[in-house]
């Protein structure tokens, strides 16, 4: 925690905070879309350093959290089959399905393996020609190029025992869903920096204009986040609503063109159900027809599996910024990182888990009351 103290006391942080304090004149609610940003905000205590006028709302940008329950149930059904090697990013293993998780499948004898890169799953398939190797391809636009490349490599090299269970989600349609909800309290967005590294910033100006909301592309390090927050507050105070890039060192307007080219070949845009939130139109990518041979949902005929979400879990409201994690009746009681009811309590990037792990156990309103 030494770094945190040095960080709080550093000149750059104090200058940014002072500028935010000088700029702000009324209450504003900003949503950071990305779970990585939520994690960084809580870990570095930014929420506690900001003036009280600024409220940070944690958005739906944790891919593990919003992967629909039905996709988890399908993954579990495939992973439990004899002969299958099921490969996944590590954070998916403890995400609860309807009645178990991938760790449970593994402990029951399923061959579930954690991979760091999707290409590792292709390598496993190459080395195990007699086994079916399935990769759980989840994530936002940041992760999609890696997953798309793994599928493309399998196609080019005719690795027929490889397939992918694809459940990708997209940021701009989620921002639009939040903005178009009558319950929304969001005045400005911190857009996810690495999503924009891949996709560029060209998708956002129509949203900023249509809903008159500032959208500031923001990085993940503490200084980046404060710089993004300052840019949002400046625009809000001036009545502006532009797309601004506060993460220029890693984001260009056009994004990564070779990645976008492969994404448009491998994937097709579909309506996607987000866990806890429901269906958002045109908010997901599935495999395009040309890659159907590599679609695990098709190969293992799991498309018929349906799922119903737990009524105890309020993660949907948390993901839309309508409820702070510690305002959920189950938070820290029935629901902890050891016994998660929903995915937001599982992933490092989930808002509930971040609140639990960084000690935001009491709702801010109660803290204010007790301080009086």
């Amino acid at each position: 925690m030494k770094y945190q103290e040095e960080f709080r006391n550093s000149g750059a942080v104090q200058r940014l905070l002072a500028e935010i304090r000088e700029t702000v004149t009324r209450p504003w609610s900003l949503m950071e879309v990305c779970g990585g940003q939520t994690h960084s905000i809580l870990r570095n205590g930014l929420d506690q350093l900001l003036p009280k006028e600024i409220r940070l709302i944690h958005g739906p940008g944790c891919p593990v959290c919003v992967t629909p329950l039905v996709a988890i149930d399908r993954a579990l059904a495939i992973a439990a089959r004899p002969g299958v090697i099921f490969c996944s990013f590590g954070d998916m293993l403890r995400v609860p399905g309807s009645d178990k998780d991938l760790f449970r499948i593994k402990s029951e004898g399923g061959d579930v393996r954690i991979v760091y890169s999707p290409l590792d799953a292709v390598k496993i398939a190459r080395e195990n020609p007699g086994r079916e190797v399935v990769f759980f391809a989840i994530g936002f636009e940041t992760t999609a190029p890696a997953n798309a490349m793994a599928i493309e490599v399998a196609r080019q090299q005719s690795i027929r025992n490889f397939s992918a269970l694809v459940s990708h989600v997209l940021v701009p349609p989620a921002i639009e869903a939040i903005l178009s909800s009558p319950a929304t309290r969001v005045n400005a967005f911190l857009a996810a920096g690495h999503v924009c590294s891949v996709m560029g910033t060209w998708e956002y100006p129509p949203l900023a204009e249509k809903y008159h909301v500032p959208i500031v592309v923001t990085g993940f390090e503490p200084y980046d986040l404060l710089a993004g927050i300052l840019a949002c507050v400046r625009q809000l105070e001036r009545g502006e609503a532009r797309v601004e890039n506060a993460y220029e060192r890693a984001v260009s307007e056009q994004g990564n063109l070779p990645a976008q080219a492969l994404l448009s070949r491998v994937f097709t845009t579909i309506d996607r159900a987000w866990r806890g939130i429901g269906v958002i139109p045109r908010s997901g990518w599935a495999l395009s027809d040309a890659y159907r041979d590599f679609d695990a949902e098709h190969r293992f005929s799991v498309g018929g599996i349906v799922a119903n979400e737990s009524p105890l879990c309020h993660s949907g409201e948390v993901l839309q910024g309508l409820l702070k994690p510690n305002q959920c009746p189950a938070f820290g009681k029935q629901c902890t990182p050891r016994t998660p009811l929903g995915a937001t309590m599982v992933s490092n990037e989930g808002a509930c888990s971040a609140y639990y792990n960084y000690g935001r156990l009491i709702a801010a309103e109660e803290l204010l009351c007790s301080a009086k």
Partner: protein
């Protein structure tokens, strides 16, 4: 899994027709796919997510990021749990 980490390209080579490389993340060296940055050169800095370089960083920005990542212990967090990295 959302984390993307800065590192320096130490080596570039082709593997099965794809541009791959070895990237140094504050002392931890890992194999990275460089196919999405066809013009990248040895010595340049990149941001890497799940084993793929997604964009280039200039040196000054990269050095600053790498220092923050080291201070926060984020490289260990990203690669440590796998226990499969090589130290340089």
């Amino acid at each position: 899994m959302c984390l993307a980490v800065p590192g320096q390209v130490k080596e570039i080579y082709g593997e099965n027709g794809m541009q791959m490389g070895r990237v140094n993340f504050g002392g931890i060296v890992k194999e990275v796919c460089l196919a999405y940055l066809p013009e990248i050169a040895v010595g340049e800095y990149v941001v890497v997510h799940v084993g793929f370089a997604i964009n280039k960083l200039d040196e000054a920005a990269a050095m600053k990021s790498i220092r923050t990542f080291k201070d926060l212990g984020l490289f260990e967090e990203e690669f440590g749990e796998l226990g499969a990295f090589e130290s340089s």
